[in-house]
Amino acid sequence: MSKLNNWKAIGTVLGETDINEYHFSLKNYKAKKGDIVTTASRLPSTDGTVIPVTVWGKISSIERFNAFFPAEAAQELTNEDIDIRDTILPTTKDELRCKVIILGYTEDGKEKISKLLPLNYPVMPAAIVKYPSSKDVEELFISDLDSSHPISIGNLLARKDVEIKIDGDNLISRHISVWGMSGSGKTVFVRRILTELLNLKYPSFVLDIHGDYLGFVQKQKKYFPDNKVKLFYPNLSVRAEDKEIVYTLIDKLGNTLTDPQRDFLNSLLEKIKYEGGSLLQYIKLLNVKAREFASSGSASFKNVKPASMFVVARSLRIVSKKLENMEQTNARHRRKMSHLKFEELPDSATEPEKIISKGQMSILYLRGYENLPASAIVSIVLENLFRHRQEASEEIAPFFTVIEEAHNFIPSRSENKDDIPSVDTIRKVISEGRKFGTGVMIISQRPSRVDETIASQCNSQVVFRIVNQRDQRATTRDSETLSNDDAKQLPNLANGQGIISGQIVNYSLPVQIKFDEKLINDDIGNENFIDTVENWDDKESVKLRKKFAKDFADINEIDSRRAN
């Protein structure tokens, strides 16, 4: 009660109230959307007495209107060019009507603010609404979160001085989705989480498509001296059992094959035993063999025409070419960052401890790889790591996986991208992962393009700015705690402002995420194309092409001159 008295009164409860929400009329400029407010109430307790309590709530929307300004007056003002201030129309009677989602109540007269309890009796109409001090709000959040490993992620959007923490245990043992359009602050948030996990020595495995996490490698010595940050590039090595993946890769990356051609490919895979190791070498071998069979006619494959065999051979050649290209692109990018130590991804089947180990963050740098091979790589690694967690021997510690560009790895069924190998793997990890300590974080710009069942298994969500309506709908579809009022706010969020909801907090809160600028990789940083162009010098090949182009243009011109 003493606390309540120190808090500022900011409004009056209006209308009918219930145990979930109420409305109040707000004094001008006294609170914002997302603010935490309180109102004093009285509840019947279990022993029949009536106890004074403080009901806590969150402002979920604010409407401002001049209830006394008749809309039709605007017409006359415009038509006659009248200044409203010259007329008797009211100009100052704005009313602010706030909707408050009730979070719960705490009993008054306690030394400390306790955990929130669910309200079971409506708040009093016409009661005063108060604005609790930041210190008290923070105290409430902390005691309510009741976490043994709270992780600080930023502050309450409406109040800079209220720090927001999430429950670390829930974070790593469950799953979390991070949505938001490009540049909205997803990666900054993920880096914040990864920083905390490093501090907790909790192993993490990050799929980095764009090199957004290389800052950790670069700054490891300085900021994380007690941790290891490993940077891997993929090698397409497949175990003999993973023939399915090999088939899919060839099928999808190469030319479209007819049924007889597919049969031949299948038989080929049967015949040419794969001993594991580099997939590229294996595909090259298949190509050579396919050619041999084709040249020698239908001797070994009775029902297949040599022409079909040639088609398959050509397709295999295309696949190996593509894979080679991807490897090279990836290597080229790596070379640009020569001071960063890239290692070939260890065999996750036999040496998983090299990827997952206490205090270590492992980054798999996938730049340059097309979706399908990237998906294949991810599928294989995750499958193996998960298996090592599942087995009784538990060869590796629990770990946390970060999947950027998740719509590529777990596309929605409506995208018609079947056979993306990572879908099944990730689905399995997500649905069974809780038992085995393999929490996953999926990140995407396009939630509507992410597999619905997987997304809905994420019990926590962080949503940044989203303008696209379909994506907005997807965020509320996947979440139990994100309300429509929250969704309405999404297009208006600024960089780094997100709505956090689900099991890692107890209720959805708009948060300004803390920006760890130090973790930006200085090498790539934010892409600054203007500087790039300023320092641009044409490559030799381009210079040459330009020179020739001039000659060709000359020829062309002479050619088209009219003979006179």
């Binding site: 209308g15 008749p70 007056a73 006359e76 010259d86 008797i88 009211p90 100052t92 016409a126």
Partner: protein, 435 residues
């Protein structure tokens, strides 16, 4: 261009006429239905002739921008009362309030004030309620309860005007939403309770403290209030949106009958026709007047003794003591019936005042009455959420607010009615409300 064509044309575009036509079509005999348009047209034609003869039509001037740049310096007060209509058997919780919207567009500091001028929150079945003396009547019907509510609203509106005059407010205009002098007949019924001593003392200090119980009856209190209002230094108008009767036309005809211009026989038959076809001032004037035109006020006797059930009642002779009302009309917009303007004195500056009413109505084109009244109407309306439970909290909230704001002028009466402890307060507070 004949008069007839003109009127027929207008009828075609005339909305309230059409509504009445439809109403008649449902309730009246086929003959009445068939004749309605024709009869109304005929009455209108005749009325127009008389109106022209009496030179009652005035053309008003309104140029939006110019009008407001001249009138921005005027202080206007708009008053309206609100009553909640929820009634619960076995208790009669009641919220009544009268609000004022006071605005001076070019004011340097605060241009507009919303004032909750009078508030009552209570239970009329509570013997200790502060508004009406308690009458122990087990069979009080709904009708009586509604009369009490209406009576309270009317008295609150009058008290609000009185208060502004008492407090010496410098208004250029004061407008009441509704008739300035209400028909008091419904409150003459036997058993209608008197107001409490407390209420009357607080609302109308000019009524002697030692006067009889009788003096606190609605009829007497209201009459005293009107007489007081009549003496106001600033012009006060009641604005009525639509007329369900034809006081203006009937009076006009009556005047001409007295003058001898209309025979008794003609007069009687036309009055009968007006009644039969339920023809109102609105119907006729809507046809006759064009937008921006007004009718000069006529003096009309509002309280007609013997006209209704009050005949023979104890109050019958009181009816004649009520001031006569000046009734004029302004057609403020093309598609609305003219609004009725009531005042207790003949307007000193008729054209200017009517032009002001026209100007303020142009800001509410679809309703065609002064926008300030629309504003205060919304303000005074008792919100739906003022249910029984919330009312108590609202009352204490009001009380607290009044004390905190030290805004005695606006809420002091409210607080007094709410709180018994404050009975001892002087009627015109002179500061230090929290003491």
């Amino acid at each position: 261009m004949t008069l007839k064509v003109d009127i027929k044309d207008k009828i075609k575009q005339n909305s309230s006429m059409f509504v009445n036509f439809i109403k008649n079509a449902i309730t009246a005999s086929p003959k009445v239905q068939n004749n309605f348009l024709e009869v109304t047209t005929k009455v209108a034609e005749t009325a127009l002739k008389i109106i022209k003869d009496a030179d009652l039509i005035v053309d008003l001037n309104y140029k939006g921008k110019e009008f407001w740049s001249i009138n921005r310096c005027k202080t206007s007060c708009f008053i309206d009362g609100g009553v909640d209509r929820t009634s619960i058997i076995s208790s009669a919780p009641l919220s009544i309030r009268a609000g004022s919207y006071i605005v001076k567009p070019d004011a340097t500091s605060k241009r507009e004030f919303f004032e909750e001028s009078m508030v009552f929150l209570g239970d009329l079945y509570d013997p200790k309620n502060e508004l009406y003396d308690f009458v122990d009547d087990d069979f009080e019907e709904d009708q009586m309860l509604n009369k009490k509510k209406d009576g309270a609203r009317i008295i609150f509106e009058a008290a609000t005007i009185v208060k502004h005059i008492l407090l010496n407010k410098k208004f250029d205009y004061c407008f009441l939403h509704g008739p300035l002098e209400a028909t008091v007949m419904p409150f003459t019924v036997a058993g209608f309770p008197t107001f409490t001593k407390f209420a009357v003392e607080n609302m109308f200090p000019f009524i002697s403290k030692n006067s009889s119980v009788e003096a606190r009856h609605f009829i007497n209190a209201y009459l005293e209030a009107l007489n007081y209002i009549k003496k106001s230094k600033f012009p006060i108008y009641g604005i009525v949106e639509t007329s369900n009767s034809a006081p203006y036309i009937k009076n006009l005809l009556f005047n001409y009958k007295i003058k001898g211009t209309i025979s008794d026989k003609d007069y009687n038959s036309v009055i009968k026709t007006i009644k039969k076809y339920k023809i109102t001032d609105s119907h006729i004037l809507e046809i006759i007047l064009s937008s921006g035109q007004a009718l000069k006020p006529l003096e009309v006797k509002k309280q007609l003794a013997g006209f209704t059930v009050t005949s023979g009642s104890a109050w019958e002779e009181k009816m004649d003591s009520f001031p006569k009302v000046f009734i004029g009309y302004i057609k403020t917009s093309d598609n609305q019936a003219p609004v009725r303007i009531e005042s207790l004195n003949y307007p000193k500056y008729l054209i200017k005042d009517y032009e002001y009413i026209l100007g303020t109505s142009r800001l509410l084109p679809n309703y065609g009455f002064p926008v300030g009244l629309n504003v205060v109407d919304k303000f005074a309306k008792i919100p739906n959420w003022m249910s029984k439970t919330s009312r108590k909290y609202y009352a204490t909230h009001l009380l607290r607010q009044a004390i905190k704001n030290k805004d005695q002028n606006t809420v002091s009466l409210a607080v007094k009615i709410l709180s018994k402890k404050s009975r001892s307060w002087k009627n015109r507070p002179i500061g230090g409300i929290s003491k």
